[in-house]
């Protein structure tokens, strides 16, 4: 059996071993290498407990035997191989399941609360433990998207977008548990499918089926208050007009987000992702795909854009590339429309994708051939997903919602994994 010269290194002081090359069998796999490291650590540290490790060879996760991997990655076996090892990411486990009466169209979680929008025309606020706290009712049609605007102390602002062509801004007082509609944003000529709040928390953008993007102010001071007796809507007194309208898409806008305070990014059914200047309202650049985009997500950590489309692929884009349609990476494993992608908030390599094939997949972009984990906790099509940053520093959570055939059995599943690495 052939042997390889390998040198192991890690970024964690706790698990560091001596910097000497080892001769290891070429056919060894992740578990073998992990055992080797554990043995070495046992020699070094007396009270070492067994830790599962994962291995990176030139930035790519080792998934097959070392020899195979190096052959496919075209790495010379003559030289000493540098292998980085990290603590293995343990499989996320479903933690909680929140049942909903109707399909959940969107979910947004922050450190304390989870906000969901539903097809029963309401939005709901849940605590992280899965307790229903508040039902926000006011729309005359299906709620398509929800977003937290800001939370200062006990009162928080939240947004709901609906099929009835309006976006509502609500103020919620968590202590008194009262919700009040601040104002109603009207102006779209189609269902409002997506909203995104800008990083300064003063503006938000909405994308609609009518191919338009509109930027609205989220601050109550700027509103033109128009008193209007509204018959079918109970208490919305103030109407708001958009600050800016961005048009350019040829088809319905499916997803919108802010990459920074001045830049907007929108994905559409016309097979394009467009970047807009939020100050001037001009289009900055355009990324062209070949299929309908359902969702996009941007990671400020790695400055990449991830898109999910109807052709079952998750694609990574560099929004800064000026030459346009450059797909950095395609993540292919889903078998249905990809309806949700979301970058991890803390780890610049991880993203989660949900699809109509009932699967949620956790990806590490360092191993693009296969996902890290398939989360098959759902019995129905996944509609949306979000990460939450919990109070405990080294725990992360993932909120995913899906729809079920039987309408009253819809659920949110909270999945939890242990151990973020950078402690």
């Amino acid at each position: 059996m052939s042997q390889l010269q390998a040198r192991f290194f890690t970024e964690y002081k706790k698990f560091a071993i001596d910097d000497v090359p080892f001769s290891i069998p070429a056919a060894s796999e992740v578990t073998d290498l992990s055992n080797v490291i554990n043995k070495l650590l046992e020699f070094k540290i007396a009270d070492h407990k067994h830790v599962e490790f994962d291995f990176l060879v030139r930035g790519q996760f080792l998934r097959t035997s070392l020899a195979n991997h190096m052959e496919t990655e075209n790495i010379s076996t003559e030289e000493v191989v540098e292998i980085e090892y990290v603590q293995k990411f343990t499989a996320p486990q479903p933690e909680e399941c929140i049942m909903h009466d109707d399909w959940i169209s969107s979910v947004e979680a922050d450190s304390e609360w989870i906000l969901t929008g539903s097809y029963d025309k309401t939005a709901r606020i849940w605590s992280l433990e899965g307790k229903a706290v508040m039902t926000v009712a006011g729309h005359t049609d299906v709620v398509k998207d929800v977003a937290w605007v800001k939370r200062d102390g006990l009162s928080s602002l939240l947004l709901t977008a609906s099929l009835d062509q309006t976006v509502l801004l609500w103020e919620w007082n968590s202590e008194r548990n009262k919700v009040k509609a601040r104002h109603c944003c009207r102006g779209h000529a189609g269902s409002v499918d997506t909203i995104a709040v800008d990083p300064t928390r003063t503006k938000f953008c909405s994308g609609s089926w009518d191919k338009m993007l509109k930027i609205w102010s989220a601050e109550s001071q700027v509103i033109n208050k128009i008193k209007r007796p509204d018959s079918d809507k109970n208490s919305f007194s103030s109407l708001q007009t958009p600050l800016m309208t961005l048009s350019g898409h040829g088809e319905a806008v499916s997803s919108v987000l802010w990459t920074d305070a001045e830049e907007l990014c929108s994905a559409s059914w016309d097979h394009t992702i467009r970047l807009w200047d939020a100050e001037t309202g001009g289009q900055k650049s355009m990324l062209t795909g070949s299929k309908v985009f359902n969702c996009i997500s941007y990671s400020p950590l790695c400055r990449r854009l991830a898109s999910g489309s109807t052709d079952r692929h998750v694609r990574l884009w560099d929004p800064r590339s000026k030459d346009g349609s450059l797909v950095l990476l395609s993540l292919t494993s889903h078998t249905g429309w990809v309806t949700a992608v979301r970058w991890s908030l803390s780890n610049n390599h991880q993203l989660v994708s949900g699809s109509f094939d009932n699967m949620v997949k956790l990806w590490d972009i360092r191993s693009c051939k296969a996902p890290l984990y398939d989360l098959a906790a759902h019995e129905d099509r996944v509609m949306c997903a979000d990460w939450t940053e919990s109070g405990v520093r080294n725990r992360w959570r993932l909120c995913v919602c899906c729809e079920l055939c039987v309408v009253c059995e819809n659920c949110i599943v909270l999945l939890v994994g242990t151990g973020r690495f950078y402690t």
Partner: protein, 633 residues
């Protein structure tokens, strides 16, 4: 040449004056003279070795001889007897021998020095009037012939000057390309079109075996039974074409009786053998089979209908889909999420639904039983919805009421709340509804062989109904409006008739060549029609598709932007074809099946009942007898 000319001149006898310039100058000598002199010299040499001294002596004696001859008259004897001669070089006296004296005497008398030389040998005539190609003499070239001539120098000088002045161009370099070259030298012999591949050698004659021998081994000779069997066989069936026979010697072999016959057969073989290799496109048979999508690719709408879904239609914006089912409900779906947003009970099996193609109004025509309901589904832009309601409510009753075959009435109460706006009651069951491209006219089909009111056209804004046809031309299967021009397509069982609605005349009659047309769709450009028929065929306006479907076709649809059309059949499959239509109408459209989509389960021997395309995306919807609507992307 020159020499030859000389020869001729010499042979002509004019020996003087005619000499090649620079070659032969000096005293004219007859060749014969020269010959004789040469011979005499030879003779002298043979006599005594030519020495410088002796030569001088000879010349001296010559001079002496002259002197002595001069004196001869007076002192004849003196000179005869004087043999001693003074050699001026040495100053000594030399006494001549007898032979030398004799020679002097001979020379003094004008005779040849050599005694043996015969001056009077018979003459040989070298020169004749015949032109010779070789010189008569082999005399070496004169020295002067090697000296460059002035004339030539002058000529060369002129040429050099001309070259210097550029009047004469130096010689063009020869182009290296050969005049003739191998046309096939660069050809890849391994390519499919290579010449060597195309070469088909003529079939070879089989070499004769033992049985053809005049003296075959005894085991090759046929026994009596074998021979009888051979004779009874047909000549084509015989294994051997001739009977093996044994002869004692080759001499005893008679003439071969079948010779002509055999030559003829050989010629026939050569004549019939293939001489050209048939070029076959290398097609992998696997490629011809349309690829099946994975069942997981299919995106079934949740089974909302409890009975077979007869008809589907997509909203012009592509956001909504309406489906009508035999369970008496019409459902409205959101395409992006496959969510059923609305269910409307109409109270009867829904035969046909059609979304108005006009994006400015939101109306859906639903036919069930005898009635056609125009419904405002309440989906989409609120302004459009209110505009639609306004359009319907703004109708004013005309002053004179015409007798109409159809009763128009407004929906009220719960029906109005459901979204129903107008109810049209027809005399018979309505099978199909279809909209004109502008969304104002609506055509309904009531198939009945006995009646002449099979097709009616409604105008929604004026609530008017007209019967376009007075005569019954057979049972109408389906109708369709031309998307741009005022044409109206009516498909009966065997024919598709095209009527001009403005001129009110029959424009065209298309023969479909099928037994029973089931459905029809018109290309958005308006130039092509496809028909689906119950005998498993898809027909375009000029060609018939091979039978891809196993069972009767139920629905066909064109895509609005992409060159695609789809057909759904009772075998539960939807075939999406790429149809390339050429501007040249004589050229058959190119139809390539792209995909076979299977997802519907066959219930009651019915599979797919209707197909529709998304208006902008290359997505096809199909409704099936299993109560589902499926979206294939």
């Amino acid at each position: 040449m020159e020499r030859r000319a000389d020869c001729s001149w010499w042979s002509g006898g004019k020996r003087e004056g005619r000499r090649a310039p620079g070659k032969r100058t000096g005293p004219v000598k007859c060749p014969r003279e020269r010959e004789t002199k040469a011979v005499s010299r030879e003779g002298k040499k043979g006599e005594r070795p030519a020495k410088q001294t002796s030569y001088r002596k000879a010349t001296e004696t010559d001079r002496i001889g002259e002197k002595s001859i001069k004196r001869k008259g007076t002192q004849g004897f003196v000179c005869i007897f004087r043999r001693t001669v003074q050699d001026k070089m040495t100053g000594s006296d030399v006494r001549l021998s007898d032979e030398q004296v004799d020679l002097v005497h001979r020379l003094q008398h004008g005779k040849f020095g050599d005694i043996n030389f015969n001056e009077y040998e018979p003459a040989i005539d070298f020169f004749s009037n015949e032109v010779m190609i070789h010189p008569v003499t082999n005399r070496p070239e004169d020295k002067r012939s090697f000296i460059p001539s002035l004339i030539e120098k002058e000529k060369v000088g002129k040429l050099v000057h001309a070259i210097k002045m550029g009047w004469i161009k130096p010689r063009r370099p020869k182009d290296s390309a050969p005049l003739y070259y191998d046309l096939w030298a660069k050809e890849d012999p391994n390519s499919i079109l290579g010449r060597h591949k195309m070469h088909v050698p003529a079939p070879k004659i089989r070499l004769p075996g033992h049985e053809e021998s005049y003296n075959p081994p005894p085991e090759y000779l046929l026994t009596e039974e074998e021979r009888l069997a051979w004779e009874q066989q047909d000549p084509e069936e015989r294994k051997l074409s001739l009977l093996p026979q044994k002869f004692p010697s080759l001499r005893a072999v008679p003439a071969f009786t079948r010779f002509i016959h055999e030559r003829f057969e050989r010629c026939l073989d050569l004549y019939l053998c293939p001489r050209q290799r048939k070029m076959r496109v290398n097609v992998n048979p696997e490629d011809l089979i349309p690829k099946l999508p994975k069942p997981k690719d299919l995106h079934p709408c949740t089974a909302g209908h409890s009975s077979l879904v007869r008809s589907i239609s997509v909203a012009p914006g592509g956001q909504w889909l309406v489906s009508g089912s035999d369970d008496g409900t019409v459902r409205f779906w959101e395409v992006a999420t496959a969510r059923c947003l609305k269910t409307v009970e109409v109270g009867g099996a829904v035969k046909s639904v059609a979304w108005s193609p006009n994006p400015a109004v939101c109306l859906v025509a639903i036919s069930h039983g005898n009635t056609v309901v125009l419904m405002n589904p309440g989906l989409g832009d609120r302004l459009i919805l209110s505009a639609t309601d306004q359009l319907i409510s703004s109708y004013e009753e005309p002053t004179e009421v015409k007798d109409q075959p159809v009763e128009w009435s407004l929906a009220e109460g719960t029906e109005h709340q459901q979204g129903q706006r107008l109810i049209l009651t027809h005399p018979r069951a309505v099978k199909q509804v279809t909209w004109h491209g502008k969304g104002d006219y609506l055509a309904c089909v009531m198939p009945d062989v006995s009646s002449n009111v099979q097709v009616v056209i409604h105008q929604v804004s004026k609530r008017r109904t007209q019967n376009p046809f007075r005569k019954n031309k057979g049972m109408v299967q389906c109708v369709s409006f031309h998307p741009i021009r005022p044409y109206f397509f009516v498909a009966t069982q065997r024919h598709v008739r095209v009527y001009n609605l403005i001129k009110q005349e029959l424009t065209k009659k298309l023969m479909t060549n099928c037994k029973w047309v089931s459905s029809m769709a018109i290309h958005p450009g308006g130039d092509n029609v496809i028909c689906g028929s119950y005998d498993c065929r898809v027909l375009t306006n000029s060609s018939t598709d091979p039978e891809h479907h196993k069972k009767a076709l139920r629905g066909v649809a064109y895509h609005r932007q992409y060159p695609l059309f789809a057909s759904g059949s009772d075998d539960g499959s939807v075939i999406v074809c790429h149809g390339m239509v050429y501007n040249d109408l004589l050229q058959n459209p190119l139809i390539v099946p792209v995909k076979v989509l299977k997802g519907h389960t066959i219930t009651h021997d019915l599979g797919v009942l209707d197909v529709a395309f998304h208006p902008t995306q290359p997505w096809v919807f199909s409704s099936g007898a299993d109560g589902t609507v499926r979206l294939f992307t």
